[in-house]
């Protein structure tokens, strides 16, 4: 079965995502002044980002307009180990952390789009679409997303090369230990 590498330009569904995201962002921009008018009466909630075991103390952030997008993005993309590793870096703030998590996730999923397993590849493509959309909402430019995709491609290339070398090495060792004709 022939596959096309998931590029931003070539993928129709991603194009649709971009246009939808653009429209949503435009709408959001228009709505901001109205919200500001109502700010006095609106109840603002807060967001708590807890660090590991609460040793560094929990941090509270006021939830602004765009933070809901950050929250949604974070909740869909975060894995526990990723949260932990990022929480240890106190220099990063909540938004930076979310973006970093999304970028890492994007690279991982983009790498999986080249998987030999059909289902893994297709699901990863969907995941890449969703994260691209979320990143678009958070103001990441398509150029940067494309950069991430090419980074994923490079990493996958290296992984394949290393994998083949590893298989060759194990095959050679197997031949030595068992005396099997591997040629």
């Amino acid at each position: 079965m022939a596959y096309e590498a998931p590029t931003i330009a070539a993928n129709l569904s991603q194009d649709k995502m971009f246009s939808a995201q653009k429209a949503a962002y435009q709408k959001l921009k228009e709505e901001v002044p109205k919200e500001k008018q109502n700010e006095g009466t609106q109840q603002m909630s807060s967001l708590v980002w807890e660090t590991v075991e609460g040793k560094d103390g929990s941090k509270t952030y006021k939830v602004g307009m765009q933070d809901t997008v950050y929250l949604a993005a974070a909740s869909s993309a975060l894995a526990e180990d990723e949260v932990e590793s990022l929480s240890k870096n106190n220099n990063l703030r909540f938004r930076d952390k979310t973006l970093q998590v999304l970028k890492n996730k994007m690279v991982k999923l983009a790498m999986d789009t080249f998987s030999h397993n059909f289902f893994v590849a297709e699901l990863s493509k969907m995941g890449v679409g969703v994260i691209t959309f979320q990143m678009g909402l958070l103001g990441i430019s398509p150029a940067e997303i494309e950069k991430l995709m090419s980074k994923a491609r490079e990493e996958k290339n290296i992984a394949v090369k290393n994998g083949l070398a590893q298989v060759a090495s194990e095959k050679a060792l197997f031949g030595i230990v068992t005396g099997a004709k591997i040629v």
Binding site: A5, R153, N157, V160, V167, G175, A180, K181, I182
Partner: protein
């Protein structure tokens, strides 16, 4: 190890290789990993293993000669190492033969093509009329 088990293990290696080659195909770099290239990787890996066996053998021999260790365990280890080295050297020879054969057929095909091209050369003479 029985031949059945060896075959099963070889099938596992083949499957892993196939999966990685599918991934390479999707990346558009399958041409970089043709069968000869993969055999070359195996050959390189074999050479590396052989080199590490040589160094291990010299270490054990040094230990035996200088430090005067002649424990049964060390002797058994050395014996096993000798067997592995012999097998590795035999495999290296097999790979060399394989490469020789491949290059020979490639040269023959190349010669055939060249011969065909020289035979089928069309000459055109242009007259005054």
């Amino acid at each position: 190890m029985s031949s059945k088990k060896i075959k099963a293990q070889m099938r596992v290696f083949q499957e892993l290789e196939n999966q990685l080659l599918i991934q390479a195909d999707k990346l558009g770099v399958k041409d970089d990993y043709n069968p000869i290239k993969i055999k070359e990787m195996e050959y390189d890996a074999l050479k590396n293993h052989l080199l590490s066996f040589y160094s291990e053998r010299s270490n054990i021999e040094y230990e035996m000669q200088v430090l005067g260790t002649d424990k049964k365990e060390v002797l058994i280890k050395l014996e096993k190492l000798e067997i592995y080295i012999k097998r590795a050297e035999r495999l290296l020879d097999m790979y060399k033969k394989y490469f020789g054969k491949v290059f020979k057929t490639q040269n023959e095909e190349k010669e055939k093509i060249e011969k065909f091209l020289t035979k089928s050369r069309i000459s055109v003479s242009v007259g005054e009329n």
